[in-house]
C-alpha cells in the first residue's frame, strides 16, 4: 500500500510480512514461497561451517531480491548473541539483527534479562536491533528504551502454530509502543496474521506456518493476503463489539405493521 508507509530505523519496507527461510521441503519451494509472499525482509541464521562440506551459500540464491535479517537463534548467553550479531554484520554487511536470546530449550521463551542487556550492548555498537521478546508491555518498553528499532513479541511459542495466545497483551503493546511492533512466532494460518495486524501490529514474521504448510507457496500467498486484509481492517476501524443484536435493515416501513 503506497499510501501506508512502513518504516523501521529510517528504512521504508515494501511489505509488512517478514518471512523465515528455514524448514522448506527444498530450496526452490523456499524461493517460490518468498516470491509469493511479497516479503522484502527475510531472516537467516548464522552457523559454524561444516569443515568438510562447505559449498556456496543460500545468500547467493536470494541474490538481490530481498533484504536479509540475520538472527541470533539458539543463543543462550548475551555474549554469544553479541558475537553472532557481529559475525552476521561481517558476513552480510548489514547492521540489522533479529536478536534472540533463549532462556528455555523446551519453550524457546526469551531470557528477558539477557535480552535487554544484549540489546543495549548491540545498540551501542551501532546495530539496528529487532528483539524477539515476550508479549509483555514492560519488557517491550525496556527494549524500546535501550534503543531497539522495533519490538517483536511472540504470539505463542515458536513453531507451535497456536496463533495469538494473548490478544489483549499484544493490543496493549501496540497501543503503548514507541517503536514498530512485529508479531513474531506462533502464527499458524492466515487469520492469525490478519488478527495481529487488526490488533495494531505493524508487521508479522512468519516461518514455520509457511514452510511446513501442505503447500508452502499457496500459504505464502495466503499470509500476504492476511497481512494486507488485517492492515486494511485496522486502518478502516472495526465496529465496537455489542452484547445484543443491532438490526442492520431499516426498522421503519416493515410489512404488516
Amino acid at each position: 500500500m503506497s499510501n501506508d508507509p512502513f518504516v523501521i530505523a529510517g528504512t521504508a519496507l515494501k511489505s509488512r510480512l517478514f518471512i523465515g527461510t528455514a524448514g522448506y521441503p527444498n530450496q526452490q519451494v523456499m524461493l517460490d514461497s518468498l516470491e509469493a509472499s511479497g516479503a522484502e525482509l527475510v531472516t537467516m541464521s548464522i552457523r559454524r561451517i561444516s569443515l568438510d562440506t562447505y559449498s556456496g551459500s543460500l545468500v547467493d540464491l536470494l541474490g538481490d531480491r530481498c533484504r536479509l535479517l540475520p538472527n541470533t537463534s539458539g543463543c543462550v548467553t548475551a555474549r554469544d548473541a553479541i558475537l553472532t550479531a557481529e559475525l552476521a554484520r561481517e558476513s552480510l554487511a548489514t547492521d540489522w539483527v533479529k536478536l534472540e536470546l533463549i532462556g528455555d530449550r523446551e519453550t524457546l521463551y526469551p531470557d528477558v534479562e539477557q535480552l535487554v542487556h544484549a540489546a543495549d550492548e548491540l545498540v551501542r555498537k551501532g546495530f539496528v536491533v529487532l528483539p524477539y521478546c515476550n508479549d509483555d508491555p514492560v519488557t517491550c518498553q525496556k527494549l524500546a528504551d535501550v534503543g531497539c528499532a522495533a519490538v517483536m513479541p511472540l504470539g505463542s511459542l515458536i513453531g507451535s502454530g497456536r496463533g495469538i495466545a494473548n490478544p489483549a497483551a499484544i493490543e496493549l503493546i501496540c497501543t503503548r509502543s514507541s517503536v514498530p511492533v512485529v508479531l513474531d512466532a506462533g502464527i499458524g494460518t492466515a487469520s492469525d496474521a490478519a488478527l495481529a495486524m487488526e490488533l495494531g501490529c505493524d508487521a508479522v514474521l512468519v516461518n514455520t506456518a509457511i514452510s511446513k504448510a501442505h503447500d508452502p507457496i499457496a500459504m505464502a500467498a495466503a499470509m500476504k493476503a492476511g497481512v494486507e486484509a488485517g492492515r486494511l481492517a485496522r486502518l478502516a476501524g472495526r465496529i465496537p463489539k455489542r452484547t445484543m443484536a443491532e438490526p442492520s435493515s431499516p426498522q421503519l416501513g416493515l410489512v404488516g405493521t
Partner: protein
Amino acid sequence: MIRLKINGVDEEITATTIAQLLAARGIDPGARFLAVAVNGEVVRRATWDETAINAGDAVEIVRPLQGG
C-alpha cells in the same frame, strides 16, 4: 603445527595466519559471506592475510544459513 580450537573442535594445523588456516582446511578465503572470529573477536576479512593465529586460540568460522 599448532593446536587450537576450530568451531569448537580441537585441531592441529600448520598455519600462522587466518588466511592460511582457511586454506589448510580447504576453505576458499575468497568465498563470499564467510566470517571469522578469534577468541570472541571478529577478524575483518581485509586483515585475514596478516592476522596471526596462535596455539590455544578459539576460532569460529561461520556463514549464513536458513533461519527463522
